[in-house]
Amino acid sequence: MVGRRTRFERVDGEIPRRIRRPMAILAIAGYPLALIVGLVLAPKLDVIPGLGAVLGLAILAVTMFAMYQLYRFRSQMAQAPDDRLDERQRQIRDRAYVDSYRWFVLITLLTLVALSLGPTLLDAPITLTFEVANWFIVGIVLISIALPSAVVAWREPDLED
């Protein structure tokens, strides 16, 4: 990394933390929210046909945008190999992975609880087809990928020059 500035490093810090933090929340919570709106609440929202699905897709699009921005502007650090990072960055990345694991366990447990209780409480049963199960698996994979970036984006302080 000596004497070499990557594209990431040149733009790093352009997103202040007050914007990064809501983006980090969106990157993690957006997909489950899209699923709840698109799958669970869709029948209740369908006063206009397809409204639930459209809202779910809109939330999903914004979530993907947030994930991409976090990756592009701030958090390639979370995926970078050791030789691209200095000791401070490696420390932040390693701590982010530890915390990501904790958050991943919590989110997975909450998802299971929500899947068990949500349909009953909301009186909106889900028919568990392969397609529906696929949505949840994709969600778990997306969140596991986005979590380290979101943790780094949440934690890194702004550097005022």
């Binding site: 990394m1 000596v2 004497g3 500035r5 490093e9 790093d12 810090g13 990072l85 200095d86 000791e87 401070r88 960055q89 302080p157 550097l159 020059d161």
Partner: protein
């Protein structure tokens, strides 16, 4: 599980030394082999360096390590040089 103790803050004179020598953060970062932002975080006290990095910094400024880093806050230059804290 025992709660880990918070790491003690390490104070430094990096910003003063860098300004005194007219070296940019980027130049110092290049010499030390770290990201230029890491220099900023060091100067602000948001990051405590490893022993290896602290020795590299001391070697670069040709000063003993305790002249640059301290577990206690450094006294202001005016106090160190003239024994005064304020001007009346």
């Amino acid at each position: 599980m025992p709660t880990p103790k918070p790491e003690p803050a390490i104070h430094n004179r990096l910003a003063v030394l860098r300004a005194e020598r007219g070296i940019s953060r980027q130049d110092l970062a290049t010499v030390l082999g770290v990201n230029y932002q890491t220099i900023g975080y060091l100067e602000r006290g948001d990051y405590s360096p490893s022993l290896a990095l602290a020795f590299s910094i001391a070697r670069f400024f040709d000063l003993p390590i305790e002249a640059i880093f301290s577990p206690a806050p450094f006294a202001p230059m005016s106090t160190t040089l003239y024994g005064t804290t304020t001007q009346d």
